[in-house]
């Protein structure tokens, strides 16, 4: 990549720095990871059986449910900015995060009592809005607890724990239904229990500490660099704008796991019923590669790893379209998809944390996440249309081609502006 040279410089810089600051994992990050893991077990176990449950209750009105859920996803994407802003404004990201996790937990309680269409729609809305609220303040808390040199690695550890939950959730739900064929309520009760423990960990153990004071303290302890830092603030903000723009562009070419699986299914003709396991597979790849790629991002540069993740996505598209076939190609796709998430999800938050001014960290994280969510929604909608107009293969080839152009363009835009470990 064109950023390669910069990356090598970064590597040398970090090598020097690594001797100065050893990696020390903050327990806060572990606790936040556990909160996310428990919450993901909760949400993914409920999500795995939601279709069965909803169709059982709603019959054919279920079709209309999809439309409402599309609106929900948009709302969930947009509240991310708001939640980030509120957490900056109040200086209490934890309280905002508690509100988000709490709302999702309350939605679990609702499942136990809901019957009608609007009740279920309302509950799912609450769950999604809760997810939207909690993400930015939680990442702000992680960022505050992490050493600046090891931001990507810290986020990676959080994402790894998070994905253990995402992989375990559906398995737990399916296991319960195997033991109790109509045990939807049992799944919801178990899901509620995990959510409650998650909220308890957040409330009881995670401190509501924002980084502003810490960073200022850090700055005053190194007075020699103080003016230099201030001068950089302006450029850094520019860098943030560029990063968000690039993220949006790349997000528009991220068609979503569902479509990748449909491409694979289209070629392999395996049953759609295996989709939940494909998700588990992708999540396992994500959690396995999260930490190695996070470490690489801290050493090699975050932008190169972020872009390399998109190259993995590109290869995944190509692999899904080529007339190869076979289990190896399918597993390769899942692996690449997992690598894509491992190289981009936590790394993006690390990049944003690095570039955003501390007092606007929540807003910046929320903005980046909103842009990711909305651009991916748009990508899915557009790809759906392309699929219908051109057919699956041509549509995917088209997106792959655009991504092949977008990644170098993104590298040029981001060159020199971001992605290096923070200068000491």
């Amino acid at each position: 990549m064109s950023d390669r040279k910069g990356g090598q410089q970064d590597l040398q810089e970090t090598d020097g720095r690594a001797a100065l600051t050893a990696f020390r994992l903050s327990p806060v990050i572990i606790w936040l990871g556990i909160v996310s893991m428990l919450t993901d077990i909760s949400s993914e176990s409920a999500a795995a059986i939601l279709p069965l449950y909803v169709t059982g209750f709603l019959g054919l009105s279920t079709i209309a449910f999809g439309v409402i859920d599309g609106i929900n996803q948009g709302a969930s994407a947009i509240v991310r900015i708001g939640a980030g802003w509120v957490s900056d404004r109040t200086g209490h990201p934890k309280r905002v995060a508690v509100a988000g996790y709490g709302l999702s937990m309350a939605a679990r309680v609702g499942f136990l009592f809901a019957g009608g269409f609007w009740a279920i729609a309302g509950i799912v809305t609450g769950d999604r809005i809760g997810k939207g609220i909690r993400t930015a303040p939680r990442d702000a808390l992680i960022s505050a607890a992490a050493q600046p040199e090891y931001l990507a690695r810290s986020f990676a550890i959080h994402r790894m724990l998070d994905n253990i939950g995402a992989a375990a959730g559906p398995l737990i739900a399916f296991l319960i239904l195997m033991l109790i064929p109509n045990g939807f309520n049992t799944v919801f009760v178990v899901s509620l229990a995990f959510a409650a423990i998650g909220v308890a960990v957040l409330v009881l153990v995670v401190p509501d500490k924002i980084k502003v004071t810490a960073r200022r303290a850090g700055a005053t302890s190194r007075p020699a660099f103080r003016w230099y830092r201030l001068k950089w603030t302006y450029l850094k903000k520019q860098g943030l704008g560029r990063l968000v723009a690039v993220t949006g562009l790349l997000g528009l070419l991220t068609i979503g796991d569902g479509f990748v699986y449909l491409l694979l299914q289209n070629r392999e003709a395996f049953a759609v019923q295996w989709f939940p396991l494909l998700y588990v597979g992708t999540n396992v790849a994500f959690l396995v590669f999260a930490v190695p790629l996070g470490r690489l991002a801290d050493r090699w540069g975050r932008v190169p790893v972020f872009l390399a993740g998109h190259v993995a996505l590109l290869v995944c598209y190509v692999l899904a379209v080529l007339p190869l076939g076979g289990t190896a190609a399918t597993l390769g796709c899942l692996l690449l998809l997992g690598v894509f998430y491992a190289a981009t999800d936590g790394v993006l938050s690390a990049l944003v944390s690095q570039l955003a001014p501390p007092e606007r960290l929540g807003t910046a994280l929320g903005t980046a996440q909103t842009v990711v969510a909305l651009s991916r929604m748009a990508a899915a909608a557009c790809f759906g249309l392309l699929w219908y107009l051109l057919g699956p293969g041509a549509a995917a080839a088209c997106v792959a081609g655009l991504l092949a152009l977008a990644v170098p363009a993104a590298a040029v835009v981001l060159r020199g502006s971001a992605g290096r470990p923070v200068a000491p």
């Binding site: 939601l50 934890k94 019957g115 195997m178 308890a200 500490k209």
Partner: protein
């Protein structure tokens, strides 16, 4: 509680500002809080565990209990006219496809031994759609001959919703819900497929040309469900098509691979044995969300009659004879048990209970 937690936590690091952030945060977690967390976690696990255990034991007990209705094991389909349905009487045989004599619908029911979420039958063929709990949950369709021997089995792409057979038992229609492929993209759609008894694929009806007023509708968000085969017409059927919020009655042609829009607001059609009338579900709001009444459409004149059944109906109607329809109505909120009701296809007629603890009826004359 969160307020006090937040304040305590915020205070601690201030005192030791120059030591590293992570250290202050570890020591900022008093043992008392960890203990409280342990108690919360233990309570949550114990609560969920005991709920699950009691649900499991209850489920097992109800499975092993004797059926609440009179049942016998069947070895073949009855020779006389009969009704096949999903038996929802608690106890042994719950969920199995069963038959009763048409002449005595409340009499002894013969269990097929096959669990089916949706079932339909003719004199010589049974179509059974089922959910198989596993990791992950799977869905399959099976067909059986008149001796209840399995003929064919195939995988379904989603949750069973409807099945119908053509009059000559040569075609099987299945409708399933294909759920969103992840939590992040939970769209629901239907997938309706017609398949030959011999395994011939006639394909997904979404791929058929959808024609309204002579022009082809190109919207990709279409859903097709609820096939009913026209008596005596080997390639003709009716179904529901939905796109952009519209609900249409369509006439399908298997040979030409077309679906032609005939009327609006007619959902889940079921054609009468004489082929003159279509019983259907009519949404009070005209949209996919809303109360569904039972209505009957006179094909020759186009007149619609709404029947007196006041409950919300989700089932595809089935004709008992040329003047009566039967349909399933859930018995309780849990959705585990239901009854089959009958109502005369004329305005004002009162519905009557037809078969207790039953669902998904198929009348075989």
């Amino acid at each position: 509680m969160s307020r006090s937690t937040a304040e305590t936590a915020a205070r601690v690091p201030e005192a030791t500002e120059d030591s590293s952030l992570s250290d202050t945060q570890v020591s900022g977690t008093p043992r008392r809080r960890l203990l409280l967390l342990l108690v919360v976690a233990a309570l949550a696990v114990a609560g969920a565990g005991s709920y699950g255990l009691s649900a499991f034991l209850q489920e097992r007990a109800s499975h092993e209990a004797a059926s609440t209705v009179k049942v016998v094991l069947a070895t073949s389909l009855p020779g006389e006219p009969f009704v096949m349905f999903r038996n929802t009487a608690p106890g042994q045989g719950y969920g199995q496809a069963a038959t009763v004599a048409l002449a005595d619908p409340s009499g002894e029911r013969a269990l097929s031994g096959q669990a089916c979420d949706r079932v339909y039958a003719s004199k010589e063929l049974v179509s059974c759609l089922r959910t198989i709990n596993g990791i992950p949950t799977k869905y399959e369709a099976e067909t059986y001959d008149a001796s209840l021997r399995r003929l064919d089995s195939w995988t379904l792409g989603g949750i069973p919703s409807r099945t119908r057979l053509s009059g000559d038992s040569s075609l099987i229609a299945t409708t399933v819900f294909v759920a969103g492929h992840s939590y992040a993209s939970a769209g629901f759609s239907t997938e309706t497929v017609i398949r030959g008894r011999d395994g011939t694929a006639h394909g997904n009806l979404e791929e058929f040309a959808l024609i309204s007023d002579g022009t082809r509708i190109k919207a990709s968000d279409r859903n097709i469900w609820g096939v009913t085969f026209v008596p005596g017409a080997p390639t003709g059927f009716y179904a529901t098509a939905s796109s952009q919020g519209h609900i249409w009655l369509v006439r399908g042609d298997l040979a030409a691979r077309t679906l032609t829009v005939l009327a609006s607001g007619v959902e889940c059609p079921s054609i009468s044995p004489d082929g003159t009338r279509i019983a259907f579900k009519k949404s009070t709001t005209g949209t996919l969300v809303g109360h569904r009444n039972i209505a009957v459409l006179e094909l020759a004149s186009g007149t619609q009659t709404v029947l007196a059944e006041e409950r919300d109906i989700d089932d595809q109607l089935e004709w008992l004879d040329n003047s009566t329809v039967v349909y399933g109505v859930p018995r309780d909120d849990a959705g585990q048990d239901s009854d089959v009701w009958a109502v005369s296809a004329e305005a004002g007629a009162a519905p009557r209970l037809f078969i207790e603890h039953a669902w998904s009826p198929a009348v075989v004359r």
